[in-house]
């Protein structure tokens, strides 16, 4: 839509080029700040040293085990939360009485910060992957569940009544009317849940000490290995970007037939 502009595209530069320049600028600033003595390099090491620490990390098996632990907790927690959220959402969303009855409880439970459960998780599972899973599931569940509720509410009543008058069975109504309408909402929920799940997985590891990248960050901080700490944080950021990209691409692929995606392409 914004492609028609009077400005000369060659002069204003392509977005990708400008973006790369922005990233390079950030790296340069982080290199220069400590080198020029503006920031204590014990607090913020220059980019080159962070990069060296990152290269170091990728050479150690410990790093890959931690990365694997984090990803397993993330994927498992997300899978549980998504299936529970979709099932509960469809069940509760399609029965008006249930919906009315649960609305206040959902509103109450949803804003409970999942980190409030950290002490409980520690007591129940110790520093096991179980405590990470519990937090991830709790936090990601609500994202999916609420989206599914919205999706089910969005079903065209005429279509639903038509299906009913054609004597579609309850299952067929869910399969052919409700599910296609709710699907975009489900994907939005999954996308939101995917990043929330990552945040909670790493938080749990950081605070509780469950195995994973978060724990490595805590260890690096405690042993004052500052460049390593920054390197690991960069890894979590990259992980976040990748998960976001993956979710967006997956959404676009799987919903290629849907109006929201088709409209985006033609516009």
């Amino acid at each position: 839509m914004t492609s028609v502009r009077r400005r000369n595209p060659a002069r204003s530069g392509s977005p990708a080029l400008l973006g790369a320049a922005g990233l390079a600028g950030l790296l340069l600033i982080i290199e220069l700040l400590p080198r020029l003595g503006l920031v204590d390099d014990r607090y913020l090491p220059p980019t080159s040293r962070i990069a060296a620490a990152l290269a170091d990390e990728t050479g150690s098996p410990q790093f890959w085990t931690s990365l694997g632990d984090t990803l397993i907790a993330w994927a498992l927690g997300l899978a549980i939360a998504v299936s529970a959220g979709v099932l509960a959402g469809i069940l509760i969303g399609s029965v008006p009485v249930l919906r009315e009855l649960t609305a206040s409880t959902v509103e109450f439970l949803r804003p409970i910060p999942s980190v409030a459960l950290i002490p409980l998780a520690v007591l129940l599972y110790g520093t096991d992957i179980g405590s990470t899973l519990m937090l991830v599931c709790y936090a990601a569940f609500w994202q999916v569940f609420v989206q599914v509720l919205y999706g089910v509410a969005d079903v065209d009543p005429v279509a639903y009544e038509t299906a009913r008058s054609f004597r579609f069975s309850a299952w067929a109504r869910i399969r052919h009317v409700l599910w296609p309408t709710a699907l975009p909402y489900v994907f939005t929920g999954i996308r939101l849940a995917a990043s929330v799940a990552l945040v909670l997985a790493i938080t749990a590891e950081l605070v509780i000490g469950a195995p994973g990248l978060g724990k490595e960050i805590a260890v690096a901080q405690a042993s004052e290995a500052v460049p390593t700490m920054y390197a690991l944080i960069v890894v979590t950021g990259i992980l976040g970007v990748l998960i976001n990209l993956l979710a967006r691409t997956g959404e676009r692929r799987l919903l290629a037939w849907h109006q929201s995606v088709r409209g985006e392409v033609t516009a």
Partner: protein, 257 residues
């Protein structure tokens, strides 16, 4: 009758759940899930004026300070970036990256710079919850209808009036969405920063209870955090509804039409 029914719908399930919890846990011998009766007693004993003043108020102050700062900076930067196409293209990947970093991992970094005082906690909150506000503001400003902008320009609406009368209201709903996301992140970060290193605060107190195996007290802290999250999101919704009244009206009218 109608009001009665609605009230019934709102309170029925919570009452049943709470009742079930109370009855089922009453004879509980399990150390980790004490009877609700003793949790409630602990709640009354624990969260009294002294502790509210010493732990809850500092937490809330940090939360509000961090949240307000993040909102101010986020909206200001967001408007600037949203209005300037080249600036946007330049900083977008950097912003995406910062948003993708799980905010709690910034706690150790900010501890390096700011120690473990109140400043650290406020900075952590600002740094974590600024991204949804910033990025949503950018999106909202970008999506301002160009016809509206051109019309405003043709009528000589420029400068501050253009910002406050045209751009901010039009981006309002999206900014509000960012602010809502940021609120829950702010609460999470408040608790996390206190769990890490602190001598007071809600997060600190709850972890103390857990470490000293004061289980009913720990449960009462979890319930208090839940209530806090609930009340804050309720307040936010009221404020949002007031600020965006014109928008809700517009949407309702569109839906009927």
């Amino acid at each position: 009758m109608n009001v009665l029914k609605r009230v019934l719908y709102v309170v029925a399930l919570p009452a049943v759940l709470f009742g079930a919890w109370f009855v089922l846990s009453d004879g509980s011998e399990n150390f980790y899930s004490p009877p609700l009766r003793s949790i409630l007693t602990a709640f009354g004993d624990t969260w009294q004026a002294d502790r509210l003043r010493a732990d809850v108020f500092p937490s809330l102050l940090r939360l509000f300070a961090g949240y307000l700062l993040a909102a101010l900076i986020g909206i200001a930067l967001g408007v600037a970036i949203g209005l300037n196409r080249r600036l946007r293209a330049t900083v977008e990947p950097v912003l995406e990256f910062f948003r993708a970093i799980p905010p709690p991992v910034l706690v150790p970094v900010i501890m390096l710079f700011a120690g473990i005082g109140d400043g650290m906690k406020v900075i952590v909150i600002v740094f974590g919850c600024i991204w949804p506000i910033l990025l949503n503001t950018v999106e909202g400003v970008r999506a301002v209808d160009s016809v509206v902008l051109d019309t405003a320009r043709a009528y000589g609406v420029t400068g501050p009036a253009r910002l406050t009368r045209v751009i901010l209201p039009s981006a309002g709903p999206q900014i509000a969405a960012g602010l809502r996301q940021a609120l829950s992140i702010a609460i999470i970060l408040m608790v996390i920063s206190e769990m890490f290193a602190a001598s007071n605060g809600l997060g600190f107190t709850i972890v103390q209870f857990q470490r000293s195996f004061a289980i009913p007290e720990m449960w009462s802290g979890i319930i208090l955090l839940g209530l806090l999250g609930f009340v804050l999101s309720l307040l936010f919704r009221l404020a949002e509804r007031r600020a965006l009244r014109w928008y809700e009206g517009l949407r309702a009218a569109q839906r009927q039409g």
